[in-house]
Symmetry: C2
Subunit: 188 residues, 2 copies
DNA sequence: GTCTATAAAGAGATAGAC
DNA sequence: GTCTATCTCTTTATAGAC
């Protein structure tokens, strides 16, 4: 069999996909080896500390994507707020495969989670929350209103992903996001 | 060491607690044995098909509790709708330990879930949704409005549990539920 | 109905050849 | 950087004594 050579980004995408689906405890190295096409020892070569290193690399990767494609555009005040919110919605739909794919925040916070991993997850959540809050302030909401709207949206994202998964109804996520769009721009 | 004798309800409560925390793939029989105080072989005696049997028993148990303490009271039209909604909120807070404990719907729908298990979960979700929709119709919402309000509430429950878990902020769930209470009784 | 003991498979992890 | 081979520990599952 020919040697596998897998570039970092493609590798991380595969690991990401497994971890977001099965969570930390539900993912095994063998599973990751099979999905990536690499042997277990090759994974250990790249990630000496094992699953822990892999999951941290995945979080770093996803965090960078989040900042680049979600948070950055959200804070770019060249464009009107509503347009930025709608662009975020499109990106979010793509990230979560129209609601068919889970969020790392959910999958990796299940079970016994090490503190450092939970802190990484929380940091990304807070960054997203702050960016959305900032958008709310631009629109004219008070600090409290803006925070509430931002949190409400992120709660809806997580909840819609769970409900779509449970019901296998592929429209849940999209419909929820449409409702959140409306309610975000509706005075309290 | 004295023999353990564990009655069914207490046993199921312990299994429930482990499964809702770690999910199906993240839970091991050894873990369940330790938590219940029974030996692994004793668990296999009660649940011959192993983890599958255990998880189904847990779902049946939780489903019964849901119907008895949530859905039943929700449909009991002796009391005014708002009072029933608020009572549900209290029960829900207790079930989820004020947001510190996860929902089975989330934990057990993660990873590779067998179809029969997912169907059991979906059935419980639908029952809750229908009961809440019924309450909305009583209040005077149209069918569509009532369904939307019901789904929105259940999405918020799941989302708030995830966000509270990620942030370790013990007020998230309570605050979200308070907001949902308001918005449920607010005309669209 | 619970226990001890054990078998068989899988998971995490490492050594060393290429 | 990837591979084969191997080791250890955990997990699932069963047999049989009490």
């Amino acid at each position: 069999m020919a040697l596998q050579t897998v570039d970092d980004k493609a590798l991380l995408e595969v690991l990401f996909d497994i971890f977001r689906c099965h969570g930390y405890e539900g993912t095994s190295i063998s599973q990751l080896a099979e999905a990536t096409g690499l042997k277990k020892s090759s994974l250990y070569h790249r990630f000496p500390a094992g699953k822990d290193d892999m999951v941290k690399a995945v979080i770093r990767y996803v965090s960078a994507e989040l900042h680049q494609h979600v948070i950055g555009p959200l804070l770019d005040n060249q464009k009107p707020p509503e347009q930025r919110f709608n662009a975020m919605l499109d990106t979010v739909k793509a990230i979560y495969g129209d609601g068919r794919k889970n969020c790392l925040l959910n999958a990796l916070s299940l079970g016994s989670v090490k503190d450092d991993i939970k802190q990484l997850l929380n940091k990304d959540y807070q960054a997203w929350l702050v960016a959305l809050t900032q958008l709310g302030l631009e629109i004219g909401y008070t600090q409290q209103e803006a925070e509430q709207k931002a949190q409400h949206f992120l709660v809806a994202v997580q909840g819609a992903l769970v409900i779509q998964r449970v019901t296998d109804n592929p429209l849940i996520f999209e419909n929820c996001m449409a409702l959140e769009q409306k309610s975000y721009f509706q005075a309290i």
